[in-house]
Amino acid sequence: MRDIVQLVVQSVLLGGVYALLSLGLNLIFGVTRIVIFVYGELVMLFMYVGFLFWKHSGIDPYYALPLLLLVAVGSGALLYDLLFRRLVRAGHLAQILATLGLSYALQNLAQLAWTADVQSVRSAWNGYSIHLARGNISAPSLIACVVGLLAATGLLQYLRRSNGGLAMRAVAQDRTGAELVGIPLDRIYRLTLVLATMLVALSATFMLPLFSVYPTVGLDFVLIAFVVVVLGGMGSIAGGIAAAFIISLIQNFSGYFFGIEWQDVVYFAVFVLTLLFRPAGLAGVRGTEQLGE
């Protein structure tokens, strides 16, 4: 019984982390419909920036957040202007090839710049845990989960209340219709990229004390982020958040009862089965499973 409690707690914490990780992808995917294979590498790059900040300043990596957000604003806009603006109207093949190619390039550049060594930070918070009846909750996990939930709530509010958010939702639902009512697509896409990149920066900051960084770490993250976003339903932030927790629960419980080698098999099986019966994902609007126009 105590194990079950610990499992539930761990699932919630990890679910928060997964939600945090996938918010940026959810936004980009939902609004621009671009198959963005380079998402993992964006996370990786921001983690490196955070790591370098910690390494050279000695200041706790959480304090790198303002710096990373600043970098995100600039790089998000740049990423859109230089690459994504063209990809938005391009066919799926072009999107996949371009982002996949960029992904490989970034992995290799990262390795050239920082070697393949596995780099870890140690935040002052790493040593803290909250003691439960059975086992502990680590402070960095709790912080990441809380930040994830706050960011998700913030994003939801923004999408619901602000003009920019409203426009984004319109574009996500029907690109042509949005254009017809005068929504400036180009500006909205740029806004989406900038906002998404800021979310990436946020997730990188709070994941860095949890996970080491190395040039190919993006590959590890991108798969789970995609599963969360697609399972949750494209165009639905709330769906994505729910999916994050569901995936985490499935992973933890199957890992415990069947053995750790099963934890990924089981959640993937559930993912595939769900898509068979609900192709648009759990909360997806019917029709959003079609990529592109």
Binding site: Q111, V118, Q251, D264
Partner: protein
């Protein structure tokens, strides 16, 4: 007949002078060369292991060349970059195509598995300096040789250190101990997961109560596994992991309040500086790593080997801008040294067949190499006189503690601090 004016003579005169100058310069371009292939991951996921082994190998070549080369031949290495399986194969094909009689490689079991058949088909000798997979030796290959200990030797050493050291420290007889095997699901880890249950069938061995495999990239959460270990309470974890997963597991275990009484790691992840940086000095204390003999007490070595060890350690530091010497650097050097110093001089010619024959003839006792190894290749191409030693993380330094003749210290943190 052409008339030559003085003005025309300056060109041939200059040419003759240059030719004379080149001939007079001592040793220039007259020494015959022996080109040898070297196929290592210099980029990609395994790049840190690959570059370190390559650096060790390069020093072995340099030492040999400084002393006049092999039978008067200057040794040159032609490098291939085995970033992944596909480039390992194409790299091997290219090296075979340049007619080298011998290829060194590959630091990783997966890459070795991919590249070595290319050499075997072409009848080129393939010397693996770093990978651990014993399956590499059981393919019936005639030209494949492994200078370093393989997983089978590691597994036997794991049990030996369990009875010699762990049992008494934990206050139990070996057969009273329980164990789990935690391994990554690639070729390296999977083999460890197969070997340990096999070997523990022998009487006087610990009882293995769980074998757990995980995927190195995908598994970011060891929580459920740690819970199970908290229930099972094994006395020892036999661990086959790479750096990132080793750090993740250990950190999460510590955060969850779990410390096993002892851990025996099969080289790789838990023995790296990355692991130390990732978990911190205090949390690393007591982790036992079976690994390349590094920093050993030279009293266990033959005198020439001890001298060579010191020379190599100093040279490595200066040649690699102060980069720390790791086991990978050491095995690269050891593999190169075995071939260049002890095998090639025995070969009648620099052909694969002659080198293969020489590899089977070489016979050196333990202590002959700076790693404390001897050299004797069995029919499967395995150097049966290579072995790992037991090193314990003590306050940030990986310290040899077993066997006694190579030890620098007694075990300091067994059972692990924090384990109940």
């Amino acid at each position: 007949m052409m008339s030559l004016s003085r003005r025309d003579l300056w060109k041939p005169a200059l040419g003759a002078a240059a030719a004379l100058a080149l001939r007079i310069r001592p040793g220039a371009a007259q020494q015959p060369e022996l080109q040898i292939g070297a196929l290592y991951p210099l980029t990609g996921v395994a790049a840190s292991f690959g570059t370190q082994q390559a650096n060790g190998l390069k020093l072995a070549v340099q030492f040999i060349n400084d002393a006049g080369g092999v039978k008067g031949h200057k040794v040159t290495l032609e490098f291939g970059d085995a970033t992944n399986n596909a480039t390992a194969v194409s790299g091997a094909e290219r090296l075979v195509g340049s007619k080298v009689p011998l290829i060194f490689g590959t630091a990783s079991s997966g890459l070795a598995m991919a590249a070595s058949p290319v050499a075997e088909r072409a009848g080129v000798v393939y010397v693996e300096t770093g990978a651990l997979n014993a399956a590499l030796n059981h393919r019936g290959f005639k030209f494949f040789f492994h200078t370093r200990a393989n997983n089978e030797i590691f597994a036997r050493q794991a049990l030996a250190v369990t009875s010699d050291v762990l049992a008494s420290k934990l206050g139990k007889k070996p057969e009273q101990m329980t164990a789990v095997v935690l391994h990554e699901d690639g070729p390296f880890g999977t083999e460890v997961g197969q070997l340990m249950p096999e070997l523990t069938k022998q009487p006087g061995s610990p009882k293995i109560v769980s074998v757990d495999a995980y995927n190195i990239g995908q598994t970011k959460n060891f929580g459920p596994l740690i819970l199970r270990y908290q229930d099972l309470k094994p006395d020892v974890i036999y661990w086959a992991a790479y750096p990132s997963d080793a750090i993740l597991f250990w950190r999460q275990a510590k955060q969850q309040g779990y410390t096993p009484p002892s851990v025996v790691a099969f080289s790789s992840g838990p023995g790296t500086p990355e692991f130390l940086n990732g978990v911190g000095k205090e949390d690393s204390n007591g982790v036992l790593v079976l690994d390349v003999p590094l920093g050993i007490n030279p009293a266990g070595l033959a005198p020439e080997a001890a001298a060579l060890l010191t020379k190599f350690e100093n040279a490595y530091a200066s040649a690699n801008s102060g980069q720390q010497l790791t086991g990978n650097g050491m095995v690269g050097f050891a593999g190169g040294w075995i071939l260049l110093k002890h095998v090639l001089p025995l070969a009648e010619a620099f052909t694969p067949e002659a080198i293969q024959a020489a590899l089977h003839r070489v016979d050196l006792p333990e202590g002959a190499l700076p790693t404390g190894w001897g050299v004797k290749f069995d029919e499967s191409g395995q150097n049966v006189r290579a072995f790992p030693i037991g090193l314990e993380w003590q306050d940030g330094a990986l310290t040899p503690i077993w066997p006694a003749k190579f030890a620098r210290s007694e075990p300091k943190y067994l059972p692990l601090p924090g384990s109940k």
